[in-house]
Point group: C2
Chain length 317, copies 2
């Protein structure tokens, strides 16, 4: 699999510009005081389809040659990538086929359906997903667009940091949550190309710490029985993203479930924006490891805002 | 009581500019499709202290002569004005005395306390509030800053529409929720001065429809036993605001409680922002009276974002 260059990220930026939102960068004086740092939040919760995933999906969909595109695109996804790919496909007016686990949040299933994609449900295991997806691809001739282990997808995700840094200028640290590693690796490539002194940190739930263990051990470790409220971060790093993270990321910090819930509620209450739990993981790391961030200028990618409003962590079961 | 001119609003804009946020104007393609209109949302939920009230409070506090200011400011308020006045006073480093009903939402009480104001609780009746407030003013010599029946406050609230229109240009309709009428009258004065053809609508809960009845009857009717989730809209119009509304507002539309809850949830889910129920009342009116808005460019003031996240309308008892 070919790797991802900074040039491919700037090309992605130009390719997807007509289709995506240039999302705002917000600050919050109260959170800065709590953190003892200056925090810049890149609000991908305001992105079309509700998450940064739309960047990568758009880049992949609009990179296809016409004769491939007509047969459509296909993927398996626990949620945001599925919605994003379905929406991007609908914009290009090509079919989208999505394999989803039968326990996916209803709000994400509804989003995928609303964009006109064809959904095939499967059991919530990686094996079941792959099996059903292979059948779909064999039958339709659609192009498989992996949620993160795809160079166009990673390049698209890297455009969020591109926009962030163009707005903030110098930063000491740039952070993103890490699930499959598409956002984190794209963010790291952009940051290292644009800011010679900045460090890049991934943030991950303790209870889904495969990226942390892979990074520390230097060997790709799969995610086994992850158990976290951050439902966007359940997947394992991939063959494409793991080497990029080893090369461009400075550290991965893990956070508690209580820390994620606390940070999520802070963002809602103080910034007045709706973010999903995965988005709160970097802020949780800032608040749980304050020494690493004291007096620093910190860019944080808020990854998405697709949350089921009937099931908030602070309103019980 | 002196009235409020457009000039006093532009002066207020210059006076408070160093202290307030120039809040963003957001749009949402999904809501536009649902409404059959083009909607521009002025996001005062992102304002300091969480609501437009900070504009009026700042204008009142920074309009005081120094020898009055040292003795502080005082008010009674069900919430957002209290927090706003407390914050504005803390910025000018003068005391704030706030009379609050003992059933005020805890999140609003906490906000007022966090700004260092002195709180006196009273029974949740207008009589009790006034009585306690008179005692506080007599004892401290503080200047009473009424939540809406105050020319500096109304002028401050009018600056939100000033900013909105400077960003959108021509609008066919500008809307604000109406409680005491400070936001609506300020919005109407700005709109009529800047846009010769635009109409101004107030939006009000059916179950707190004193402004609607006062407007239609031409006689000020007090709010009696209002019963609405829109806790910012419980108060009656005042002696200052009622004549301004009669003169500058074209109509007042009332909406159902279910309509408010539906619109509030739509804003959270589709725009990914946190607004309080009062903020959702104008969108509820757009969705309940679509004929009035079809193909129009509509500016809507989202009044605030101070909501108790433990008590959301859709997470039930």
């Amino acid at each position: 699999m070919s790797s991802v260059s900074f040039e491919s990220i700037t090309q992605a930026g130009a390719r997807i510009r007509p289709y995506i939102h240039r999302t705002p960068v917000l600050t919050c004086a109260v959170l800065d005081r709590m953190a003892g740092a200056t925090l810049y939040f890149k609000c991908e919760n305001f992105q079309r389809a509700g998450a940064f995933k739309y960047r990568g999906a758009c880049n992949a969909v609009f990179s296809l040659e016409d004769n491939d595109a007509v047969r459509g695109v296909a993927t398996h996804s626990s949620g945001n990538h599925a919605g994003a790919l379905a929406r991007a496909a609908s914009v290009r007016r090509i079919p989208a086929f999505v394999v989803m686990p039968d326990n996916a949040p209803s709000v994400k299933v509804a989003a995928v359906q609303s964009y006109g994609a064809e959904i095939a449900f499967c059991k919530p295991t990686l094996e079941a997903r792959k099996e059903v997806l292979e059948k779909v691809v064999a039958k339709t001739g659609a192009t498989l667009i992996h949620p993160y282990d795809n160079p166009q997808v990673v390049a698209g995700q890297g455009t969020a940091a591109l926009e962030l840094i163009s707005e903030t200028g110098e930063l000491d640290i740039v952070m993103a949550p890490v699930g499959g590693g598409g956002l984190l690796s794209g963010t790291a490539i952009s940051t290292k190309a644009l800011l010679s002194h900045a460090m890049v940190f991934g943030a991950e739930p303790e209870q889904a710490d495969d990226a942390f263990r892979s990074f520390k051990g230097g060997v790709l470790v799969p995610s086994v029985n992850p158990n976290t409220i951050a439902d966007g971060l359940l997947t394992s790093l991939g063959e494409l993203t793991f080497p990029l993270i080893l090369r461009f990321v400075d550290d991965i910090l893990t956070v508690s479930e209580d820390g994620i819930k606390f940070a999520m509620r802070l963002i809602w209450e103080r910034m007045k924006i709706v973010v999903e739990p995965s988005s709160a993981v970097p802020l949780a790391a800032v608040l749980e490891c304050p020494d690493r961030f004291l007096n620093r200028r910190v860019g944080i990618i808020l990854s998405g805002g697709n949350v089921d409003l009937n099931k908030l962590p602070w309103t019980g079961k």
